[in-house]
């Protein structure tokens, strides 16, 4: 067995035994600070690809989980996953796609005030956290998603949010004011081009 295999086995065992997803630093605390953990993780990822168990990255953390296509064999009836309200789902989506974002900005997109408790529920679930203040008058608090959010929804990074690139390219993540300006300018320049 090569040293590389030894490290692979060690990382595999550590992640397998872990109760929480682990960062590379945390893995190193077990397998040695000099180890090429990143390389070992890449090797394991390839080794497990297509198997019933998969190695996945969620934010800065790694963990093993069952393959998604086997959900039907494993789904647990007693698992009463917290059902989010529509307001909760939309608020979570707005925070995830726009973070960091203030309560006022969330309300502007939804066109309605957020009722008490909507953000509270998301924070309690561990998916949303306060993310500092915006340096504008009133210094409103902003919100962002957590590592727990990425794990829960199976995202390696925020860039894996469904359709985020398209939304960004279409300007749909820009505030209305900005989009409005762009739209007016676009029209204006089109007109100029036509006239030439």
């Amino acid at each position: 067995m090569t040293p590389q295999d030894d490290l692979g086995r060690a990382v595999e065992a550590v992640l397998f035994a872990a109760e929480q997803p682990m960062t590379i630093e945390e893995i190193k605390a077990h397998v040695g600070s000099q180890a090429d953990v990143r390389g070992a993780l890449a090797g394991l990822e390839a080794l497990y690809a297509g198997r019933g168990i998969e190695l996945v990255r969620r934010g800065e953390r790694w963990h093993f989980q069952t393959a998604a296509d086997l959900a039907h064999l494993l789904r647990r009836d007693r698992e009463e996953a917290r059902k989010l309200s529509r307001a909760g789902i939309e608020t979570l989506a707005i925070i995830a796609y726009h973070e960091p974002v203030t309560r006022g900005e969330i309300e502007a997109i939804r066109g309605v005030q957020i009722s008490k408790g909507t953000i509270d529920v998301l924070m309690e679930a561990g998916w949303v956290r306060p993310a500092g203040r915006r340096e504008v008058p009133g210094r409103p608090l902003t919100y962002a998603t957590t590592a727990g959010f990425l794990s829960q929804f199976g995202l390696a990074t925020r860039r894996d949010l469904p359709g985020i690139d398209d939304l960004k390219a279409a300007g749909l993540l820009d505030p209305v004011d900005l989009a409005f300006e762009a739209e007016l300018e676009g029209e204006a320049s089109e007109t100029v081009t036509e006239d030439e």
Partner: protein
Amino acid sequence: MEAAPPDTLTIDIDGWEGPLDLLLALARSQKVDLRQISILELVEQYLVYVNAARALRLELAADYLVMAAWLAYLKSALLLPRNPEETPSPEELALRLQLRLERLNAMREAGARLVARDRLGRDVFLRGSPEGLRVVRKGRYEAEIYDLIAAYGRISARTRPVMHVVAQRDVMTLEEAIERVSTLIGARIEWSAIETFLPEGARGMYRKSALASSFVAALELARQGRLELRQKSAFAPLYLKASA
């Protein structure tokens, strides 16, 4: 609900999360790209909907009516001859509305795609019984930011009423009032209205407190035989005079 015309949505006001949400649902019923919707038609649909709801005497929240009023204004502005001086132009207002609908729609779809993903604990699973790892740091305490701010919220909620109770109010105590009325009454020869016993310049809550205390003081002094009270009828002015 059969009363609704066939081409309008069923009236179900509880299902909407505000007027923008309702507008979006109506816009989607036009079955075209949001970029292509007819704002005029949308305005018309909204007004029909809101009128139908009112005809059924459903309680509409104020913001639905505010939106209806604004849309009615937008509609007339779009139909009437242009006033070039007017800014923003009705077309610009319509464009802004359309941009808002697009953004809400984008987030609604994103949210639906998000919750449909393979969720941890529902579709994919972590190891059922991990052996667990040694915790390297000794006696590490765990707490999340949520725990911290929720704790502070709890303390604030708990202590808030207490702070309310201890708020200092400017009052005249009964002892003060007895002292004051018994001193002043000696100098009055004629019947005097009770209000003339109040400190000069007493205003607002303090004046009310002084009046109440002075009244009780007058009763007490009358009981002791030190002054007499006179009142023509209930709620008529109350007069005080030292006992002869």
